[in-house]
Every structure is written in C-alpha cells, then in structure tokens.
C-alpha cells in the first residue's frame, strides 16, 4: 500500500511541478506528460489571484435588434451589483462574464447570445440580431476626490453583433 501511495505522491508532485513551472524552461517537458491528469481533475497550479489587480469594473450589455431595426435592452447576465447594497453571495455568472469580456473569448459571448435568442423566442419575441457591448467603468486613481460610482467614467465598446438562428 505504501508503495502505491508513494507512486501517487510522486505523480502528484510531477503534476504540480509541470503546472506550476509552466512559464519556465523546466515545466513544459514534464507538463507534456502530466497535462491530461491536471486537466481531467482540474488541478492546475497557476494561482494568479489579483496578481494584476482589476483597475476597472467590466460587464457586458446585450441589445436585441428586431427585424425593423428597433433595439431593445436585454438584461445583462451579471449586472453590476448596486453600490449601495451588499454582495451577500458569490455569483458564478460574474466569473462567466469576466471570462467572456476578453476579446478572444468570443465563443463565450456566442453562448450567451444563443441563450438570449432562445429565451426571447420562448417569450414570443423574434430577435434578428444581438449586439454585445462591453462597458468599462474606470476606477479613479488613489488620492482622487471621492465621487459616487454613478459618476465614474464609463467606456462602451461594441464587441460584435451576432445573428440569431431562426
């Protein structure tokens, strides 16, 4: 039993080494072997928690476009919490949104669009397209005067417009 457990320990230490050292020359050769285990169990060893702290508050604002070109507001997947309230629990849709705001992750936004289109269709609204805007609220720098968040500078960028499958 000890031999078996020792092998498991060695295996885990290898996974740990390959994953944690992936950005150095020593990690990749090991990770080539251990990546499937790391990925299957979801045990990768990168821990960049706030390594680069967020300087902005970001969210996605979808807009539905009807056949006649009229734009209707759709509820964001994770609206920014009310600054006058308290976040009582961790919302996983927040994490999904944070992943989806990266320009390269258009496939996540596409998944959001498919859901919006399905929901609209189920409620009798036949959307033609969905425009996905990224809204960025810029945190003012330290030593700046206190102003309510509602007055912070917001930048809106249209990421893309998707067709709803009909």
């Amino acid at each position: 039993m000890r031999v078996l457990l020792s092998l498991v320990v060695c295996g885990f230490l290898l996974v740990m080494w390959g994953s944690a050292m992936r950005y150095t020359p020593f990690g990749p050769p090991v990770r080539e072997l251990t990546r499937p285990i790391e990925r299957s169990l979801g045990i990768h060893q990168t821990w960049p928690m706030f390594g680069s702290p967020p300087r902005t508050t970001v969210w996605l604002e979808p807009k539905g476009i009807l056949d006649d070109g009229e734009r209707i507001r759709l509820e964001p997947l994770h609206p920014i919490p009310d600054p006058n309230g308290v976040i009582r629990r961790y919302h996983r849709r927040h994490k999904f949104t944070r992943n989806a705001v990266a320009e390269k992750r258009d496939y996540l936004r596409a998944a959001m669009v498919r859901r919006y289109c399905r929901e609209a269709k189920a409620s009798g609204v036949d959307l033609r397209k969905i425009q996905m805007d990224r809204v960025t609220l810029v945190t003012p720098p330290p030593y700046s005067e206190y102003t309510p968040r509602s007055t912070w500078r917001a930048e809106v960028k249209t990421l893309e417009t998707w067709n709803c499958r009909r």
Partner: protein
C-alpha cells in the same frame, strides 16, 4: 532493505517517515468533517444557478462544450486505447451498451454523464449531491463516498468550466488528497458500526495528507506571492485600493468608498497590499520554521477573514484556511510511559 546501500536505506527511511509517520486519526476526521461542511455550503449555493449554468438551455450548451472544451489531447492512457477499444467492442457486441454511447464517452468523456439533463433531473442530481456530502460529513461508507465526492466535483467542473475560480480548484485538490487517507476511521458512522461489530479500531493514520496539504499551500502562496511581486500595482502599494474599486468584487462599496478616498484610506490599503505580499512570499519559511508557524497561520486567518468581509471572491479564503489544520500538531502522544 538489508541489501541496499546505506545512502539509499537512509533515504528510504526518510521518505517513509516523512510521508507515512503515524498521526492521530482524529486529525483526518476533523479535516473530513470541516471539508464536508465547506463543500455543503459551496454545493447548496449552486442550486439557484442550476438553470442558467448547468441546464441544456443555459449558457453551457452542448455546442459550447463540444467545440471549446477538451481534456487536453492525448492522455497518459492513450497507449491503452487499443486494449480499451477491444474491451468496449466486446461490450457493444453483447448488447450491453450502444455504440453511440461508447463513442460519446470516448470522444467527450467529461460530457457523457451530464449532457441532456432536464431541469428537474438536474435538481434531483443536486439533491443527490447533498445526500452524498451528508454521507461524507457523517462518515458513512467513507472509503467509497470520498471517491464519489471527488467524481461529483470533477463532473461539475467539466459541465460548466468557465464559472470556477481558484477557491473551487483548491476544494477539488483537498478532496483529491482526502481520498488518500482513511478519514472515516474515527468520528464516523463507519467507526460506530465497526465498534458494534467488535472490530479493531484504528487510532492512527499516515501523515501523508497533512504533508500534501502543507506542500500545496506553500506552492500556492509562493506562486501567487512571486506573481504579485512582479506587478507594478503591488510594488507601489495600490493593489488593494484598486481591488476594492471593482464593483463586481467590492462587498459593500457604500461603506468602503468614502474611506478609500482619504489619505488615511490610501495609506491603509497600501499597508494591506504590502502585508499581503509579505505574508504570501513569507508563508513557506514562516510555516517551515516551527517558532513562527503559529504566527504565520494567525496572519493567514486574519488576511483571509479581511478579504472575506471586503471582497466577494468565493471559496478561496475558507478553502485556504481549511488547509491550515494540516500544520497543527497531531503527532501521537508517547504511550506506555510509567507513571511517576
């Protein structure tokens, strides 16, 4: 071991002592109970988000997962595929499973279990998870249940891969480690049943899991500490200030914002930024040196408690603090000493 060279014998003895020295079985029982309570808390909060995140009509539909999520190419098991295919062909030939199901499992093993569930089935599945975690908490069938709990976490992870953070990952790692120890040896229904049957009771377990948890925490804090130390905002002491400025994380901005925009607020968040850096980089040496261990752990509890109340970042804090148990002294008291 007598035929081995002395250096190898010494090394094997060290290895054996380091990973397998006996510790009080109550230590892993306490770890099992506290971990299952954390898991229950974590699992119950998934319930409101089942339709959005886990159902077929939610965000993670079949198209997204099949096209953009994989288990990472060839695996260590790849050389076994021909033999596996031979066995599976046999299963199909005698009609136990359909070829479509087999292909589904081989092509997308992470999807095979959870695709196509209705919302009602998901809700029942969620309730099943609660029952499983309660069984783990009570230590009922622990030697089997611990692997089922790991399976539950892994399947949930792959069903909705874009919603998890470092805290969720840490919980999976802890559950994986706990599979390597008989955590139901005491303080469990299993132990109670064994006692009723008159079977011998286990009082010690190998220190293996404690060691793995200890190393995992050292790697985690060192990694994140070095990563932060290379960032401009951590170097200039403004990282915590900006983290509290993010409206998605700040737990109560109306409470913290007026304070942040004062000289004192900038100074305090600067001090907290450097405190975090020093703690994370110093965690390894701090816990390895026995004299500073308790102080280091207390500093960690303070850090994670502060983060918990100021920022909504999920399970990372509670999961990290759970690991601190592994540093507590659970070595067995010396026995058979004559009473003086």
């Amino acid at each position: 071991m007598s035929g081995l060279p002395p250096w190898l014998r010494d090394w094997l003895t060290w290895w054996d002592t380091f990973w397998f020295a006996p510790v009080d079985a109550r230590s892993v029982a306490a770890m099992r109970i506290s971990l299952s309570l954390l898991l229950l808390w974590w699992w119950v909060w998934l319930y409101p988000e089942l339709p959005l995140l886990f159902s077929e009509s939610g965000l993670h539909d079949a198209y997204l997962l099949r096209k953009h999520w994989s288990l990472g190419g060839d695996s260590l098991l790849s050389p076994l595929y021909p033999a596996l295919a031979y066995v599976l062909d046999g299963i199909v030939a005698i009609g136990l499973l359909s070829p479509e199901f087999i292909h589904g499992v081989i092509d997308h093993p992470h999807l095979a279990l959870t695709q196509g569930w209705t919302l009602e089935q998901l809700q029942w599945g969620h309730l099943g998870g609660v029952v499983l975690l309660l069984a783990y908490l009570l230590g009922f069938g622990t030697d089997v249940v611990k692997f089922l709990v790991l399976g539950l976490l892994v399947v949930t992870y792959h069903r909705a891969p874009w919603i998890w953070n470092g805290g969720d990952r840490l919980m999976r790692i802890w559950v994986l480690f706990m599979c390597l120890t008989p955590s139901g040896a005491v303080w469990s229904v299993d132990a109670w049943i064994k006692e009723r049957l008159g079977w011998a009771r286990r009082t010690t377990v190998p220190v293996l899991v404690h060691r793995l948890v200890q190393w995992q925490l050292i790697v985690l804090y060192t990694w994140t500490g070095i990563d932060k130390a290379m960032d401009h905002f951590w170097q200039y002491g403004t990282a915590v200030w900006f983290a509290l400025g993010d409206g998605g994380y700040a737990r109560a901005p109306w409470l913290t914002d007026p304070m942040l925009h004062t000289s004192l607020g900038v100074w305090v968040t600067g001090a907290l930024t450097y405190y975090t850096l020093v703690f994370e980089i110093g965690f390894g040496p701090g816990v390895l040196w026995k004299k500073t261990r308790n102080l280091t752990l207390a500093a960690g509890v303070a850090l994670h408690t502060g983060i918990f109340f100021l920022l909504s970042v999920g399970m990372f804090g509670p999961a990290s603090v759970w690991g601190y148990q592994s540093y507590l002294d659970w070595s067995m008291p010396k026995r058979d000493e004559p009473n003086s």
